[in-house]
């Protein structure tokens, strides 16, 4: 519906009347070309740039997220390593600073533990194990003196490696814990081991300080994928985490994967050197990208708005321009027809003038000869009494006079087609035109009532154009009326500088739907009877050319009335007089 309402005039234009070679433009094609070309030129780079920009921005944000995760993992790994190294070195210091005797002294050992707790902290208990794997001294919350560790994995490792950090295990105490053990060789070739278990809460505190958005998590697993301590979302200590154990790397690695709910997950991990631990940080990608998604929807909205605005402007401007071209073209075709019409009329005029002139000479001879006969009749007595002969000559003379009147009128009319502005009386113009139509009116028994008051002054106008206007209107009126019609021509003074000419008939009238279009070129209801649909549009153009206006009032079945307003002073249009018809 809307499309129909906004459909421009040119859309369904078919230049039927112009013929196949006179139509210069296919307006629909021009419109489409204009719209698609400008839309293409405007929108393709816009969309292209927007897509590139979108990808660049998304990639930048993604890599920023990855980088941040990587930095976080690295920093955390560094603090964990530092935490463990610190405690390792502390034990190393103790082992070198104290003799075995000192360490075997429970008092001294308890003092050391106390000092450790006070200074660097994070220790839970401490014990001394001899060469055979038996704990000889111990201070801490459990009773572990005399326990044999020779079968424990960590003990075997420390004997081999000198320093060992265990993963989290239950051990003899059946509580999850992990230990740092340092082996010290004695000068006699024997050795002992000092072993401390670390406070799990201290260790956990390292991870809980990490700032993580939303459902992000940081935790530590060992190399078998066993969770080492509870984290925010993982509580099953010493059980396998749902992630696979990542590939070994000396550096921090960040990769993307998806979790069991198919959500995008960013995972960053780092192997903590010389320990069984792997630090893992997971982040929900969607949550991190949330600000970007918001920006993205704003940008997309703006893009869609821009595209619609551009399209609307393009369509609007194209429609406006093409419509103007269409109107100009219509005017051109109209002018072409007017010129043709005027030329045709001028040719007819010249032809009529030629004929009239040629006839005038023999007519003058007949006139003289008949005049001579009449002279003879009146000057010679033998004929004067012959009423019959006198009557015959008189009728010849009166017929010649009639012919003379006709040829005069023809010459007059033809001449005025070419003559331009002159002073004229409307009475003479009406009479000239009616002179041609009186006979036709008689045949159709049409009564012509002319009412021209004497106070209408002579005025300057284009006689030829005025004649054509009246001729067209009266012809139309005749066509609309059947036998016994009444044609009224009424002239009145409208105001100081205008006169009104009314041409009214009591014919068939014009329907309301046709009323709007009567002055349109090529609009005709007489197409089958040879109407071109040009008469009234040319009349309209002619009225405008002489500076007047024309209006039509009509009632179906009652008749039609044309009102023409004519200015009493003729204003020459700019350029008129210099204009010539090209070609």
């Amino acid at each position: 519906m809307i499309a129909i309402r906004f459909k421009p005039k040119f859309w369904d234009h078919q230049d039927v009347a112009a013929g196949p070679f006179k139509s210069l433009f296919n307006f629909r094609k021009i419109w489409k070309l204009a719209v698609f070309l400008t839309a293409g030129v405007a929108l393709i780079p816009l969309i292209f740039m927007a897509t590139i920009d979108y990808n660049v921005a998304q990639n930048a944000i993604e890599s920023e997220i990855l980088l941040r995760t990587s930095r976080l993992v690295s920093n955390t790994r560094r603090s964990i390593s530092f935490f463990l190294d610190e405690r390792k070195l502390a034990l190393n210091f103790i082992i070198h600073d104290n003799t075995l005797e000192d360490l075997n002294n429970p008092g001294r050992l308890s003092e050391i533990l106390e000092n450790l707790k006070k200074s660097i902290g994070g220790f839970c208990d401490i014990g001394v194990i001899d060469e055979s794997g038996v704990q000889v001294n111990y201070v801490g919350p459990y009773h572990l003196i005399g326990v044999d560790y020779s079968n424990q994995a960590w003990y075997r490792e420390v004997v081999e490696r000198h320093v060992y950090i265990s993963d989290v295990f239950l051990g003899i105490r059946h509580v999850p814990h992990f230990v740092i053990a340092v082996k010290h060789n004695l000068p006699d070739g024997s050795f002992f081991v000092i072993r401390a278990s670390l406070d799990m809460d201290w260790f956990r505190a390292l991870l809980s300080d990490i700032e993580l958005v939303g459902t992000g998590d940081a935790f530590i697993i060992n190399q078998d994928g066993i969770l080492q301590m509870p984290s925010r979302y993982q509580n099953a200590v010493l059980e396998k985490v749902p992630l696979s154990v990542p590939e070994y790397s000396t550096n921090t690695v960040v990769y993307q994967t998806s979790d069991k709910d198919e959500r995008d997950l960013i995972v960053g991990y780092a192997y903590i050197t010389d320990t069984p631990f792997i630090l893992i940080v997971t982040k929900q990608k969607t949550e991190l990208m949330k600000p970007w998604f918001e920006t993205r929807s704003q940008l997309t909205g703006f893009l869609i708005f821009s595209i619609s605005a551009i399209l609307m402007v393009i369509i609007g401007v194209s429609t406006y321009l093409v419509n103007n071209v269409y109107l100009a073209d219509q005017r051109r075709v109209m002018t072409l027809h007017q010129v043709e019409y005027a030329n045709k009329l001028a040719s007819i005029g010249r032809l009529a003038a030629g004929v009239a002139h040629e006839i005038n000479n023999p007519l003058a001879i007949i006139n003289e000869k008949a005049g001579l006969i009449k002279d003879i009749f009146s000057f010679r007595k033998e004929y004067t009494g012959d009423a019959k002969l006198n009557g015959l000559v008189d009728s010849i003379i009166s017929s010649v006079e009639r012919c003379g009147a006709i040829t005069k009128r023809l010459l007059n009319f033809a001449r005025h087609i070419e003559v331009s502005v002159q002073k004229l009386s409307i009475q003479s113009v009406v009479n000239d035109v009616l002179g041609f139509l009186v006979k036709e009116a008689e045949y159709k028994s049409i009564t012509i009532a002319v009412d021209i008051p004497d106070d209408i002054p002579e005025f300057e106008s284009d006689r030829g154009k005025l004649q054509q206007i009246l001729l067209n209107l009266i012809n139309n009126a005749f066509a609309a009326m059947t036998e016994g019609g009444l044609l009224e021509i009424k002239v009145s003074r409208h105001n100081e500088d205008k006169i009104a000419v009314m041409v009214a008939d009591n014919g068939c009238g014009i329907s309301e739907s046709d009323m709007k279009r009567v002055f349109e070129p090529f609009f005709t209801t007489k197409s089958r009877t040879g109407g071109t649909g040009l008469g009234l549009s040319i009349t309209y153009g002619l009225v405008q050319e002489i500076g007047g206006t024309i209006q039509v009032h009509s009632t179906v079945g009652k008749g039609t009335r044309f009102n023409i307003m004519l200015p009493l002073t003729y204003k020459k249009k700019k350029g008129e007089g210099n204009a010539c018809i090209a070609g």
């Binding site: 003038a353 005038n360 000479n361 003058a364 001879i365 002279d375 000057f379 003379g404 007059n412």
Partner: protein
């Protein structure tokens, strides 16, 4: 009053001369400008009635030549082309000459002739 009639239609001028003669007006006719000029060499005329369109030398041109010979001579033009209205415009250019449109009524022609001849006196 001696009148010179010039028109390329012999039938017209001869009949017209005859009719004028019947009314006591002495009219001589010619069908070409050259013939008219020859006649004018040998005779004098008070008035010339000329067709506007005569082959070779036009009515207006002929008028000028005749006027050169006889400055007192008066003229009436006849034409088969156009209406009196148009010749009102032309009359302004041609001076105080009279124009008549063919076919001409003999009565109006004589009327004009008398007018012209009387004007002659006025001019003096």
């Amino acid at each position: 009053m001696r009148v010179l009639l010039v028109d390329d239609e012999e039938q017209l001028v001869s009949t017209l001369a005859e009719r004028l003669a019947l009314r006591g007006i002495d009219a001589v006719w010619a069908t070409s400008s050259t013939a008219a000029l020859e006649l004018a060499q040998s005779e004098t005329f008070d008035l010339a009635v000329l067709d506007v369109k005569i082959p070779k030398i036009s009515g207006l041109e002929l008028k000028k030549r005749l006027q050169a010979l006889y400055p007192q001579m008066k003229f009436i033009f006849m034409t088969g082309h156009g209406s009196e209205d148009d010749f009102k415009i032309g009359a302004a250019e041609a001076g105080k000459d009279f124009y008549l449109v063919k076919p001409v009524k003999i009565e109006s022609l004589i009327e004009k002739m008398n007018e012209v001849v009387q004007q002659k006196g006025d001019d003096k």
